[in-house]
């Protein structure tokens, strides 16, 4: 049976989430500019905390915590995108 294209697409996204621990730990463009020009310290920490810094809480291995966070976010966004699009579906397509 031919794999549906969107299953292939979602699999690629999940694969990226699984390899996410290899991501560079350097600060990103904005963070680096904020560090270099002395305003990084005015960043406020969030008043709430769910899965902070893409690290699943309560998991000892940082790599596994990152992978779990990545898989969670990838699946949540697939569902959200799919659900949102379904709500905007054209009438003539049942």
């Amino acid at each position: 049976m031919k794999t549906k294209w969107w299953i292939a697409g979602l699999s690629i996204a999940l694969l990226l989430a699984i390899i996410s621990p290899i991501a560079s730990a350097f600060p990103d463009g904005l963070e680096k500019v904020a560090e270099d020009h002395g305003f990084i310290d005015i960043a406020a920490t969030s008043p709430f905390s769910v899965v902070p810094d893409y690290t699943f809480p309560g998991v000892e291995s940082e790599a596994i915590a990152t992978i779990l966070a990545g898989i969670l976010g990838t699946l949540v966004l697939f569902g959200l995108g799919f659900g949102l699009a379904s709500m905007l579906k054209s009438k003539n397509e049942a």
């Binding site: 560079s24 769910v50 893409y54 397509e93």
Partner: protein, 212 residues
């Protein structure tokens, strides 16, 4: 390029918040009842892929990293209004679940990485694609240049928001932000072109799903 809370002041947060809400409302209106059978899973896959790809920071010059934004890819595949919805979904989830990007700065982040990046890349892509007679190479060149400008222009607007907020002087933050994002934008262009090439080679029909 996710702005945390504290970097922008209340007037900038409110202004960009209003812009973001208005753009999302228009995006819903523009795409409502126009989303077809193939576009539904495409919106899901794009939101998922963009989230996952954004986690993979790649190192660039001088101890700095960059990451994919994805607005250009979304806008090229599904049109700029669908891109606004996809990018807003990604940014809301990143903010609420992963504490990446501030809650009060959410409007600014949607404005920069969703609206500015999405529309800028879309029109550059369309222009170059038409100029090069809708050839495969033309589409890829347009996508690459559009993706680069999307990141650079988003960083320029982001820097302007910081400057207006009094966080950093204009003459400092504009060249610093735009300079580093001119390098990061190359990564954005390469990833966007690579994904589009893969789709072209395997399922070229999926390149014709733009909504509105």
């Amino acid at each position: 390029m996710h702005i945390p809370d504290g970097f922008i002041n209340a007037p900038v947060a409110v202004t960009t918040g209003v812009i973001a809400v208005a753009a999302i409302a228009v995006a819903v209106k523009a795409t409502n009842k126009k989303v077809g059978e193939k576009q539904i899973p495409m919106m899901g896959v794009l939101a998922a892929f963009i989230f996952a790809a954004q986690m993979l920071n790649f190192p660039v010059a001088g101890g700095t990293s960059g990451h994919f934004v994805g607005a250009a890819l979304a806008a090229i595949l599904l049109g700029p209004w669908a891109a606004v919805l996809i990018m807003s979904s990604v940014l809301v989830v990143q903010c609420l679940i992963f504490q990446d990007g501030g809650l009060l700065a959410l409007g600014a982040n949607i404005t920069n990485m969703g609206i500015i990046a999405g529309f800028c890349s879309y029109y550059i892509y369309k222009g170059i694609d038409a100029l090069l007679k809708h050839s495969k190479a033309g589409a890829l060149i347009g996508a690459g240049i559009g993706a680069w400008f999307a990141v650079v222009l988003a960083s320029l607007v982001c820097a302007a928001e910081l400057a207006v907020s009094g966080t950093s002087p204009w003459e400092v933050v504009i060249p610093a932000m735009v300079g580093i994002h001119m390098v990061i934008g190359v990564g954005e262009a390469l990833i966007t072109v690579a994904v589009l090439s893969l789709i072209m080679a395997t399922r070229a029909d999926l390149l014709k799903l733009q909504i509105a």
